[in-house]
């Protein structure tokens, strides 16, 4: 087959022009390597975020209602003051609801002797332990009696423990001041570690919400309500019923939008999907640019190369090479070099991704996508950017090229 003979000529031609091969391969490899790394980081981030969500024990049967309009954890306006214990009571009376937990939240400095740290104080009920399924590593969670008595007791996350107590000192039973109130430490939470976005879930202190209302915030309105439905199937109807209750309790007219917002596992997943799509668009942009650069490198070097090899082209034409033979030969060269760049780039990208994965600093996950992408795109780049030089080489008349 003539086409195979041209392929052989192309490969031998590349063997005689190693410097050009090196440059062109490098041009494509850089693009493909960055593509591979970006895909790996994207996949790694996604996987880790999913891990974290699972780790939060945010099961498919639960959802939260946050005061204030907006989306998920992003509040649009000032926090309204009308989410109340009445809302909690009414939602709790719905037949599809298993647990309801009100929550207050306040950012405060916590002080122990000479040490102080800024932390988030959450007023919650003993149900927190059940709903969040966050293990206590030492001591115990407060109970209903503490709620009734408005006891000054606190459960500490790992971050305030680290910031307040010298290593080796047992925080249990110690007295920590928050605002003007001294709280006795009764329990310690298991450490979760920083999330991808840099959020520190361990920087928290839990106190009975009755204590919070009476002694800390001196306000009765809530930051959020956490609801656990009977089963995942009834979540949608429960949310709708909850919406109606809250709208009625808050005296919202039919044309006013909700002054609260739902946070659900599906909502978070959707948000992540959107984030991923945004990242994919970025990815496409970056890879397009880098492949374009690789392509332009190929085109320019091929243009220089055919000029250097104009004599070779002439000789081939003298001894029977058709225009199509010359076109094929040079196209094979550019496609081969480009695919070589794709392979080298993928290998390089995978190595970098593995190193990143090891550092535990940037998440990275190797998937099959970059391989397929690299093969497809690098071949296409060689073809698209090789066609012009190849045709140019073929269109020189043999007479001119041999002079």
């Amino acid at each position: 087959m003539r086409i195979f003979r041209n392929l052989v000529q192309a490969l031998r031609g590349l063997g005689r022009n190693k410097a050009n091969v090196f440059l062109m391969t490098l041009g494509v490899a850089v693009g493909i390597a960055s593509l591979t790394v970006i895909v790996a980081i994207g996949e790694g981030t996604r996987a880790k975020v999913l891990d974290r969500i699972a780790g939060f024990g945010f099961g498919p049967e639960s959802f939260s209602i946050y005061a204030g309009s907006g989306r998920l954890f992003f509040r649009k306006a000032q926090m309204p003051t009308n989410m109340s214990f009445q809302d909690v009571e009414d939602v709790a009376s719905l037949p599809t609801v298993r647990h309801v937990m009100p929550r207050q939240r306040k950012r405060l400095r916590a002080v122990y002797r000479k040490n102080s740290t800024s932390t988030r104080i959450y007023g919650v009920t003993p149900l927190w332990e059940i709903i969040r399924a966050w293990p206590i590593v030492d001591g115990k969670f407060f109970d209903d009696r503490d709620m009734d008595r408005k006891s000054k007791v606190a459960v500490l996350g790992a971050t305030p423990v680290k910031n307040l107590f010298p290593p080796g000192e047992d925080p249990l039973g110690k007295s920590v001041r928050m605002g003007n109130v001294f709280f006795k430490v009764v329990g310690l939470l298991e450490e979760k570690g920083l999330t991808e976005s840099g959020y520190d879930p361990d920087n928290r202190v839990l106190i009975p919400i009755s204590t919070s209302v009476a002694r800390l915030t001196h306000e009765a309105h809530l930051h959020s309500i956490k609801v656990q439905a009977m089963s995942p199937e009834v979540v949608d109807e429960t949310m709708e019923a909850t919406r109606q209750i809250l709208r009625r309790n808050h005296n919202l007219s039919p044309i006013t939008s909700d002054d609260f917002r739902f946070v659900t596992p599906t909502g978070i997943m959707e948000w992540i999907t959107e984030q991923k799509q945004a990242m994919n668009r970025m990815l496409i942009l970056i890879s397009t640019v880098s492949l374009l650069v690789g392509g332009i490198v190929i085109m320019n070097i091929m243009l220089v190369s055919i000029r250097e090899r104009i004599h070779e082209i002439g000789v081939r034409r003298c001894f029977g090479a058709r225009r199509s033979d010359i076109t094929q030969q040079f196209l094979f060269e550019s496609v081969f070099v480009s695919m070589l760049g794709g392979i080298v780039g993928t290998i390089f990208g995978v190595v970098v991704s593995l190193v990143l994965k090891r550092t535990d600093f940037i998440p990275a996950q190797i998937t099959w996508e970059p391989f397929v992408l690299a093969a497809l795109f690098s071949g296409a780049v060689g073809l698209v950017f090789g066609i012009q030089p190849a045709r140019k080489a073929a269109n020189w008349s043999p007479e001119e090229t041999i002079r």
């Binding site: 003979r5 029977g320 058709r322």
Partner: protein, 241 residues
């Protein structure tokens, strides 16, 4: 029937708006088995004539029949086929592929033939042996002397068994002793029946041919058989054409 038949062939080049007529109406017939020298001063149009005969370029006007076929109207694919099958070129500047072994240089026409013959590699070895290069066929042109390089180009010209060997000043880059060795090869090839057209401005080289065509200013000034070889006598036909 003539192998080559040029009828009032003209060729002009246009560059930067200026048109120069290089061939001003050449009519010429060459038969199979002839040994023809084309001589003339530098710039007379000899190489231009050769590139037309070798189907490297088309005449501006006139017709060219090669082996009975009208070449002027052929497309690139057909012309490439003609160059591959019917013509073997030998150049003054050798025009070998740099960095490619003598063997692969000679093999080149077989890359582009319609169907690579089964015995292609044997053929290459055989032809290299014929020009006395068996020992050096793995050397690239850079490692060969001028005479050896010219032997490689002759082998390359012959490997696909062409109808015509076209040689443009084949001894121009060689010293006189090497030149004589190369000419001896051409003599032998003609004796074996190959048609040879030789461009030169060395009268001694031209004298080895059997017919001499003198070109001047794009026209044939004279066309005569060489007295030394009256027994061939093929020149007469060409003169009257």
């Amino acid at each position: 029937m003539s192998l080559i038949h040029l009828e009032d062939v003209k060729k002009s080049y246009t560059s930067i708006g200026m048109t120069t007529e290089v061939l001003k109406g050449v009519t010429l017939k060459i038969s199979e088995g002839e040994y023809v020298a084309i001589i003339g001063p530098s710039g007379a149009g000899k190489s231009t004539l050769m590139s037309i005969m070798g189907c490297l370029g088309r005449p501006t006007s006139g017709s060219y029949y090669l082996d009975g076929e009208l070449v002027d109207q052929m497309n690139d694919k057909q012309l490439s086929g003609v160059r591959n099958e019917k013509i073997g070129f030998v150049f003054q500047a050798f025009h070998l592929l740099a960095g490619v072994s003598a063997f692969d240089n000679v093999y080149l026409p077989l890359v582009y033939c319609r169907k690579t013959p089964a015995d292609a590699r044997d053929r290459v070895r055989e032809i290299l042996a014929k020009v006395g290069l068996s020992e050096r066929m793995n050397h690239s042109p850079g490692k060969l002397s001028g005479g050896e390089q010219q032997r490689v180009t002759i082998a390359r010209a012959l490997v696909n068994q062409p109808k015509i060997v076209l040689a443009d000043e084949p001894t121009g880059n060689l010293d006189s002793i090497t030149g004589k060795e190369i000419m001896a090869i051409f003599d032998r090839l003609n004796a074996e029946g190959n048609t040879i057209i030789l461009i030169t401005h060395d009268p001694e080289v031209a004298a080895r041919a059997h017919r001499t065509i003198r070109i001047k200013d794009g026209l044939i000034e004279s066309d005569e058989k060489n007295e030394n070889f009256p027994e061939f006598g093929s020149g007469a036909e060409g003169t009257r054409a």
